[in-house]
């Protein structure tokens, strides 16, 4: 923290630990997720009585668990696409390779998930190399096209060899990880949360390391990276392999959790590939935190929309020239349409993502509050207006990256 900002504002008084406020909020969020299962044992509802009450039960834990896995998928996408700018439209390939490999080994050969999952991760990493190598030659939209086509080809193969992969319906009969079933969601929930924290920590550290800086530099100007004597190819392959392995790990664990299964619809449909991107961009591309938040948010939003029992009027075209006639349609029938429209609005309204917008908004609030005492600097003198203007400007500049 620069000495400039230490001027006795609300911001500083709030956190004596020296951590940025958003890290404090992030940690609080994790603590909340960690204690959530305990609330279910107390049979408590959280929320505003009369407005909304969230009852913590087994079902909710399972839903949040699914959301955590989706957050992991989104983070793995962000690690390669958000940072190096190599936009992958087919990340589902990695989830599918990890998940299917582990499930097949488990179902066909009876290998315990503890052993089959690492094999799945290994194969995903190899898939990362296969997709990463074209990334060395192709740029921009061309790379996106190749990655867009990869899951389509894999899906065709899955359907062609339905006898092995179970076709559209997928495979059934895989074991649960360590035998935790969905009857009591607490343990599988903690497994998912632990994996979430682990993946988050790994990706957070890597993207904030020197390698992460090179990733961002590749996104901004690949030629400049090469000119600086670094080999962009090496870093791109590393990013792809890391992301693929993480995605494969999440996919394999997801398959052996009570909520997931090795099915094309859950691991590699066209929509999964798109949703992962939407999640990362909505949350804030190139931040890892944003992808995690976006993934959880999107998964829960979709679930909430599909559970609305109300009906809405949908115009139905008629045969005569009266043009339209409204017909009531249950909301859960148009949940995906609503989802797409909400996404579109959010994408346009918050181009940098929810997390960045939140941080910017939070800073603005804190600045306004602390402005009152900020005019008196720590040394007792008056904070010069020029200095304040400079600080505001520097804050605006800093708002765009995530290093501070």
């Amino acid at each position: 923290m620069s000495g400039d900002t230490v001027s006795g504002g609300l911001f500083e008084r709030l956190n004596s630990s020296g951590l940025s406020l958003r890290y404090v909020i992030g940690l609080l969020g994790l603590v909340f997720l960690a204690v959530l299962p305990l609330l279910s044992e107390l049979e408590l509802g959280i929320g505003v009585p009369g407005l909304f009450v969230l009852v913590v039960d087994n079902l909710l834990l399972l839903k949040i668990m699914a959301a955590l896995y989706f957050g992991m998928f989104a983070m793995s996408w962000d690690a390669v696409s958000g940072y190096t700018g190599q936009i992958s439209f087919g990340h589902g390939v990695f989830f599918a390779v990890g998940g299917y490999t582990s499930a097949l080994l488990n179902i066909e050969f009876g290998i315990d998930p503890l052993l089959s999952i690492p094999v799945g991760v290994l194969l995903s990493a190899i898939a990362g190399i296969v997709i990463g190598v074209p990334a060395l030659r192709l740029r921009g939209p061309y790379l996106s096209l190749v990655t867009l086509v990869a899951p389509l080809i894999l899906l065709q193969i899955f359907i062609w060899r339905s006898d092995v992969f179970g076709g559209e319906r997928g495979l059934i009969g895989q074991d649960n990880f360590l035998g935790f079933s969905g009857a009591d969601a607490t343990m599988p929930y903690y497994v998912a949360l632990a994996l979430f924290v682990f993946i988050f920590a790994v990706l957070f550290v890597v993207t904030r390391s020197d390698a992460g800086k090179v990733f961002t530099a590749i996104r901004e100007d690949e030629d400049a990276v090469a000119a600086a004597g670094l080999n962009p190819a090496k870093f791109k392959i590393f990013a792809f392999v890391l992301s693929a392995a993480v995605g494969g790990l999440a996919g394999a664990m997801f398959v052996h959790s009570p909520v997931g299964g090795p099915r094309p619809s859950e691991l590699m449909s066209v929509m999964i590939n798109v949703e992962v991107i939407i999640a990362a961009i909505l949350g804030g591309m190139g931040t890892i935190v944003g992808a995690a938040v976006g993934g959880i948010f999107l998964s829960l939003l979709q679930d909430a929309l599909s559970n609305i029992g109300d009906t809405v009027a949908v115009p139905i075209p008629l045969t005569d020239l009266s043009l339209v006639f409204s017909l009531p349609v249950p909301v859960h029938q148009i949940d995906f349409l609503l989802f797409a429209v909400i996404t579109l609005v959010l994408l346009l309204a918050l181009p940098g993502g929810i997390v960045r917008a939140g941080v910017r908004w939070g800073r603005r609030v804190l600045r306004r509050r602390s402005d009152r005492d900020e005019t008196v600097a720590t040394d007792g003198g008056i904070d010069a207006p020029e200095r304040r203007a400079y600080r505001t400007f520097a804050d605006e500049l800093r708002g765009e990256d995530d290093e501070h």
Partner: protein, 288 residues
């Protein structure tokens, strides 16, 4: 011999339609430097408009084509002005928002019209013999009309002033700006043209398949392949690419296995991207 004739005649006619499907996509990619993933949605919009005009209002299919042209052009304009214009400097955002738009439109069709495929009347009923092969007259009309549209577009781009401005913008944004060409207006023209052409292609496609909510997905993938194969922004390249893909696909179905239809263009796409990313008639992607 007869199998070969069948492949040649079938591929010749269907490829003209493929070219029509891909040409709007290549136009936007060439001029604006962005991929319009809602191209398939324009195709579906055209097909459903024609269904609506012909089956619901009971009007003539030719009016249906005109309506499809108008509605899909309008969709192109709305998409550009309302969405793409403000994010056109970020190709990735354009890809994602157009993709989400396409998903939303698919869902609208699903909710309003249901999953049931809708038939669109043929442009002309009956059959005709071509080189000893029995061909639907509808196919012949589509072939002729497709070539008329492609020829018209070619003439527009090469011989009219707005067309030349469009070509100039696709070659160099800065140069075009220097001689007083407004990029935003040219982009709007491109999106309207591309939307309209896709709408017409949608009617043609629907006239010998049917109209269904996800009908735009396959043409979209086809468009990628053709555009990449032919090279960015080259109309000539797109037509040639369409013919290569068309022949390959029809031959695959005839001589190898019908279940591989969807796979052929995908594999060709990947191979071409790896071997010659700039395509047959391509040039380096224009830096915006």
């Amino acid at each position: 011999m007869s199998a070969l004739a069948e492949v040649v005649v079938g591929a010749t006619t269907i490829s003209a339609l493929y070219a029509l499907v891909a040409i709007g996509f290549t136009l936007i990619f060439g001029v604006g430097g962005v991929l319009n993933l809602a191209h398939g949605a324009s195709i579906a919009i055209g097909a459903y408009t024609a269904y609506y005009v012909t089956r619901v209002y009971g009007l003539d299919i030719w009016l249906g084509i005109l309506a499809a042209l108008a509605v899909a052009s309008l969709f192109g304009a709305v998409l550009y002005l309302g969405l793409v214009k403000r994010i056109q400097d970020e190709p990735i955002m354009v890809m994602i928002t157009t993709l989400v738009t396409a998903v939303a439109i698919e869902q609208v069709f699903l909710v309003v019209f249901g999953t049931q495929p809708k038939t669109i009347p043929s442009l002309l009923a009956g059959n005709v013999g071509v080189a000893g092969v029995n061909v639907q007259l509808n196919m012949v009309v589509v072939f002729v009309l497709s070539w008329l549209v492609i020829g018209g577009l070619f003439a527009f781009v090469n011989y009219t002033k707005p067309g030349k401005a469009l070509l100039a913008t696709s070659m160099t944004h800065k140069g075009a700006a220097l001689v007083g060409i407004e990029a935003d207006r040219i982009n709007l023209v491109t999106w309207v043209l591309a939307g309209g052409i896709a709408g017409v292609a949608g009617v043609f496609l629907g006239s010998f398949q049917t109209a269904y909510p996800t009908m735009g997905q396959t043409p979209l993938v086809l468009s990628f392949t053709i555009v990449v194969l032919g090279g960015i922004g080259s109309i000539k390249g797109s037509v040639l690419g369409a013919y290569l893909i068309g022949f390959l696909e029809v031959a695959t179905v005839e001589f190898i296995d019908a279940s591989l239809t969807g796979l052929t263009p995908l594999i060709v796409l990947v191979l071409v991207l790896l071997a010659k990313p700039e395509g047959l008639f391509g040039r380096e992607l224009v830096e915006a």
